[in-house]
Symmetry: C2
């Protein structure tokens, strides 16, 4: 059996190695246009920052062997043609026409089974000046060397990152560490569009605190400069810069597949079934070049990630070798580190869930990530999106200096298993003070969701409260924290009645008005609402998340 694989970065080498392990008699040939094989593209920001010292670390095995053509031949028995471009797939004759980029020679590589693993490429917005020198993208090893060279030329640099997605945001840390002044320009109203607004506000504030300028709802109109870029022009201003990183997303590389008549999905990726098979039973696709399915909506989606590429490649290899396997789909789980701030999400955001027609309950729960008395405990903010009808968890997001990936991965597992918030709240998760509170943040958040679903209280989002304030609406804004907390930081037009005094001072609260309660994280706010309800107050709401997540102006006492 002759197996040909086009693409040598993630899915390709994985599929090739696995196929050879499963079918020793298979002749596996891997074709890669570039020089480098099997490298960790996701590691490039850490190579630029200097945390990863050497280029070769990104393409080594864990014990330090570089995965070059000799390695693939000797260890994996995979024949590799790198610096070789696949020009055309001939499905009738079952061969791939390739060009050796060193010699310029053309030849054919015949296959019985073909795996397309051509990956993605950075989107280049059609903006004036986009081809100027020092306008970089970041996907290949070579890109990272270009950026490192630009950084080495002189010391402090003005850098503009165009695009506030994962790659753009991951790059801010590396550049700030290198002494750059960094501006991120995002066309949409927020960076990191996979997050809901109140979560991404936290990230934007954190970035600003690290000296990153974040310009949202801003379109780049031109890159200025003669040979090399010297400024980025937006609708509002010109921002001088020494170089630019274009991080405006990626698009699947499907030219070969398309020209071979294979079906391209609505997302622009190659259409494959659960077995990673295209419409042609001898042609498979895996990784960033193909379309995947969202497990919750059952709709096509495109979430290119190295983790998914590896899993898909293994499925393709298994199926090719006659093992039963299928790749069910994804729920867009992602995580991102920004200095000491962590951002993660899985499933549907609130916006997505509502677009999909779900009637949802949401929870916003800030809390320490470990037992609150444990010295390294840090605040994290957790948001849940829950289907009202089935009580199933649909999505989770978490941000903060504490551990967020664990909570989101548990949520991802629970979502995949169709668990309800009731199921999750009874999960037997590990507990010890250095790792989590006795009730893990995720369990507490599920319990809040259950309280809402069971009608125990009504909540209002911070944004809705802010809109009421801005409209000049009258409501009784009840802060039930302690006088000390109130003195440190408070919101305008609030009345302080500490929770412990509420029963004694309940007469101070007007019965006819709308009452909105809150505290630091709104646990006491919830208790206050329950007390008021029991005393006959009809129109009581709890402000989700409390003052801890209020992103607008606060009155701060710096004494």
């Amino acid at each position: 059996m002759k197996v040909v694989i086009i693409g040598g970065v993630a899915a390709g080498p994985k599929a090739g190695s696995r196929i050879h392990r499963l079918c020793h008699e298979a002749e596996v040939t891997l074709i890669e246009k570039g020089e480098f094989l099997s490298y960790a593209g996701c590691g490039l920001p850490y190579y630029i920052s200097g945390e990863v010292k050497e280029q070769k670390e990104l393409m080594c095995t864990p014990i330090g062997v570089v995965r070059d053509p000799v390695f693939f031949r000797q260890v994996k028995n995979v024949r590799v043609f790198n610096r070789t471009e696949a020009l055309r797939i001939d499905r009738q004759r079952k061969k791939v026409e390739v060009k050796d980029l060193e010699s310029g020679k053309l030849h054919d590589v015949p296959y019985d089974k073909l795996v397309i693993a051509t990956g993605s490429r950075p989107m280049i917005p059609p903006i004036e000046g986009v081809n100027l020198k020092n306008v970089f993208t970041l996907q290949k090893i070579e890109d990272s060397e270009d950026i490192k060279n630009a950084l080495a030329e002189n010391k402090a640099k003005d850098v503009v990152i165009v695009g506030g997605g994962l790659i753009g945001i991951e790059m801010t840390e590396a550049l700030i560490k290198k002494g750059c002044r960094v501006t991120v320009i995002e066309r949409l109203p927020h960076i990191l569009p996979m997050l809901d607004e109140e979560m991404v506000c936290q990230v934007e504030q954190y970035l600003e605190s690290k000296g990153v300028k974040v310009k949202i709802s801003t379109a780049v109109t031109a890159f200025l400069g003669k040979e090399r870029v010297t400024a980025v022009k937006t609708e509002h201003e010109e921002i001088p810069c020494d170089f630019v990183i274009l991080a405006a997303g990626v698009t699947p590389q499907v030219r070969l597949a398309k020209e071979a008549g294979l079906e391209i999905g609505v997302t622009g990726g190659i259409k494959v079934d659960e077995r990673m098979q295209t419409g042609d039973p001898d042609v498979y696709a895996a990784g960033d070049c193909c379309q995947m399915y969202n497990l919750i909506t059952r709709k096509p989606c495109y979430v290119p990630l190295g983790s998914t590429a590896n899993k898909q490649a293994r499925v393709a290899a298994n199926v090719i070798c006659g093992l039963n396997d299928s790749f069910p789909g994804v729920i867009a789980s992602t995580v991102c580190k920004i200095f000491d701030f962590n951002v993660a999400r899985t499933g549907l955001s609130e916006v997505q869930a509502r677009q999909e027609g779900f009637d949802v309950v949401t929870v916003l729960s800030p809390a320490p990530d470990k037992a609150h008395f444990y010295p390294t405990a840090q605040l994290i903010i957790l948001k849940l999106v829950v289907d009202k009808k089935t009580r199933r968890l649909l999505g989770a997001q978490a941000v903060g200096r504490g551990v967020v990936d664990r909570r989101i991965d548990i949520a991802a597992t629970a979502i995949t298993a169709n668990m309800t918030v009731d199921d999750i709240s009874h999960l037997d998760l590990t507990y010890a003070p250095p790792y989590s509170p006795a009730m893990d943040n995720l369990i507490t958040a599920c319990d809040i969701a259950r309280n809402k679903l069971d009608g125990l209280f009504e909540s209002i989002t911070i944004k809705e409260v802010k809109e009421k304030v801005d409209r000049g609406e009258h409501f009784f804004f009840l802060d039930v924290r302690s006088p000390q907390e109130y003195n440190e930081v408070r919101l305008e037009n609030t009345t302080l009645i500490p929770l412990g005094k509420l029963r004694a001072r309940i007469a101070e609260i007007p019965k006819e008005k709308e009452i909105i309660t809150f505290c630091k994280i709104s646990l006491r706010g919830y208790e206050a609402a329950r007390i008021l309800q029991a005393s006959g107050y009809k129109n009581v709401k709890v402000m989700d998340g409390g003052i801890a997540v209020w992103p607008y102006e606060k009155i701060v006492n710096h004494s």
Copy 2:
């Protein structure tokens, strides 16, 4: 409705607060024998070590309010009698007879619903001298003060910990940090009996590296001394000491329940149903005093933990207040920090699974916890226990300096959802280099399990290899690492053929002999086995986990 709760540490206060929030008209009374309420018993080792500075931090809310009787009255509307002992439950008359320990006065507290949350107490082995001064247990705030006082008396101390369970092992770090010389004595062949042998060996070696003496399979026969303990006598020796911590496990406190005629389960805990109800519909129990069910075996078990107590208390409160809820059970998830070493487990160990009659496949997978090129990556060792018949994950254990709790919590969620290793290997977990490898350790371990279940290779445990060596059995012990790795550390009587040379040198390997392959973590060992099988070798096994987890003698080159 009058609700009386006996016990004021974890489940009791949680149930009381929740009941009041749900049923404002409920009169809730909490009876606690001790002085302190609602404290974090699990935090005591960190209070002793000094990481938690003040006693009151262990009984504060996250914003620093001490949970004393005034707090419970004002904030939670729960009436508290502390320093008050419940003497008898009169189920006919529905009242609890109590004694005020300050005044000595007796009185009755009537109830409509009763929650027993009497917790557990440390087991005191009936050993000569066990009542000597400075033989401490560690469960209450007062115990921690006693130990802190003993530490303050003079500087370096010899301390013996009797019992190598979670509490005993958690205490080693605190005591070593305080400059003590620490000996742990465990009656069983290993400490931490919830772990399988090859995992616990790693913990024992780590403890020894931190200066803790671990004496396993050793029974204490007496505590020696006149007034205060001066030595611990075992079958083999006398160990001089300044104080002793008895950490021989805990037993549920069920005297009141038993005397009231309530059923006690086979584990010694109060028998309750999923609604936390005893046989008496007006009497509930929650927390360490009650028996729970193992979700996998469906058998009674006893795993007292603060996390479980809180969840059970919430269920009891919900049911008492007419909300539908049930506590399904536990899978014995636990985690423990020892200096910078992490230990976690969930589900069934291999030993437990075999005892329960499961035919299992196990996986031992050492790997970096983050992308291997990321500078803070640390090795963790993951063990899985998988049911051969259903391919369901039954249990997971992890140890190492890297992040283990996330993997175990994902496994706990997957086990609860009855996921197979195939399901888990396709989970869309978060990925970025600072958090995990592209294929998370749990996913890789599941893929190894799938390879075994699919008959792709046969494995042999390190222990079985060691037994072969000790019996002088002849087999071909094939190390497929690099010459450099071999030079640094190797095993006796092995032949080195690096994986990349294996095809060229295959003639050196005898066809008739049993062949056991390995590498550092046995990924290359597995690839070697596949190559040998394809070349007609019939009797090839891969040594699980590789040299990275070999706990016996190695030849180390310190050059």
